[in-house]
């Protein structure tokens, strides 16, 4: 399998790419900045992207001139269409083992993993007020009146008419 450096300007995004990937572009760009371009883009013989639209957009964002590509010239048009979908679909089936993930993350000290989407959500419990009868505020119900029959009741008993 040959990996060729190809000008980003010569790559063509597939016009019917059925994936939303804009949210992932920044994370992929961060990964390329940190680790280099380690996963080539797969293209067909005409330069149309088969797999790697997010890497392509990240390359544009980073202003890269050339990127590593694999030309899938051994695949038929139908196989290319199928591979384009299959490549994305199979990744949906994988999931995390969080115990092992956390062990791995704990070993990474000098690289900010938030750059790649590993955001650690925590609560600073010391800054949360202690619950007492004095600071508990009983919610007040929002009351509404029916414009037709003038029945007054809680808002949750009314339906919003659009």
């Amino acid at each position: 399998m040959e990996i060729k450096m190809i000008k980003v300007d010569d790559l063509k995004p597939y016009e019917n790419n059925p994936r939303f990937n804009d949210e992932a572009v920044e994370l992929v760009a961060n990964s390329i900045k940190e680790f280099g371009f380690k996963v080539p883009i797969v293209i067909d013989k005409n330069g149309v992207i088969v797999a790697g639209h997010t890497r392509y957009k990240a390359s544009l964002e980073l202003g890269l001139k050339e990127v590593p590509c694999i030309i899938a010239d051994d695949l038929t048009e139908e196989q290319i269409k199928a591979f384009r979908l299959a490549d994305n679909k199979v990744s949906e089936k994988a999931s995390w083992n969080y115990d092992l993930l956390n062990i791995e993350l704990e070993d990474i000290l000098d690289i900010n993993m938030e750059d790649f989407g590993f955001i650690e959500h925590t609560i600073d419990w010391d800054n949360v007020e202690d619950l007492t009868s004095d600071n508990y505020e009983e919610p007040e119900h929002n009351m509404l009146e029916c414009p037709k029959c003038h029945h007054i009741d809680r808002d949750i008993h009314f339906k919003k008419v659009e």
Partner: protein
């Protein structure tokens, strides 16, 4: 945070068309005569919770509370498996009063040690604290309906107190994203997948499909359920370090 999807039992065809399910909450009120369905959902889900069906009573259905509770207790004995997290108590304080609710709780606790008490504001804060102490290490519940018992900005205080006694907190009916994104409840439940389905929506990445008819209602429901599984994964991942479960 584990988001339990509720109302799967109200359309009998939906569960049988979904093979792998994560967390489901079913209402005893609806499954009391649907043993096959309830057992199928239980046996094909990672975790299950059972609600007493108290909300159904509040819509005006007449019930003999003692008889109903005894039947619910019998059901619990037969239905229980290791993947059932718990069974919510008969929290109909507003109809029969807290004293009576406590009596019904005792009946249920003779059947199982997995009964989940549900705090309401009429019980007072001292009773919330007592509940956390009495149920230390177990699951306790509060309500998530807007302006019902707890203001959105005060949920963290309730959670903090429960953590002191190592309780897991279920927030019933909490579906508001702005709260779920800030408050790491251990468990919540949501029927919004079904609401979306009823209105013919398949929500995915902000796109809403309204191509919906009587003929495709099952398909729409199943698609929405599958989308909701992604929501379950999102909140589990988001809070997995805080909830540690």
């Amino acid at each position: 945070m584990k988001v339990f999807l509720s109302a799967i039992e109200t359309n009998e065809k939906v569960p049988f068309n979904i093979k792998k399910m994560k967390y489901n909450l079913m209402s005893y009120f609806y499954i009391q005569n649907k043993t096959e369905l309830a057992e199928y959902v239980r046996d094909n889900s990672e975790l299950i919770m059972i609600d007493s069906g108290a909300h159904s009573f509040q819509k005006g259905k007449k019930v003999d509370w003692n008889k109903y509770t005894e039947e619910y207790a019998k059901f619990i004995k037969n239905f229980d498996r290791p993947n059932v997290v718990g069974y919510f108590e008969m929290d109909v304080d507003n109809i029969i009063g807290y004293e009576q609710v406590l009596k019904l709780r005792k009946v249920l606790e003779q059947a199982s040690n997995k009964i989940i008490p549900v705090w309401h504001k009429n019980r007072g804060i001292d009773e919330y604290k007592k509940m956390c102490k009495d149920y230390a290490g177990k699951v306790v519940a509060i309500t998530g309906f807007k302006n019902e018992d707890i203001k959105d900005e005060q949920y963290l205080m309730f959670l903090k107190y429960a953590k002191k006694y190592n309780c897991k907190v279920h927030c019933l009916g909490m579906t508001r994203k702005k709260v779920l994104d800030k408050v790491p409840f251990d468990y919540v439940d949501s029927s919004s997948w079904k609401q979306n389905a009823i209105y013919g929506r398949i929500a995915d990445k902000g796109k809403v499909s309204k191509k919906f008819s009587k003929n495709n209602i099952l398909k729409v429901m199943i698609e929405n359920y599958k989308q909701a599984i992604k929501m379950q994964e999102y909140y589990y991942e988001k809070w997995q370090k805080v909830c540690k479960d």
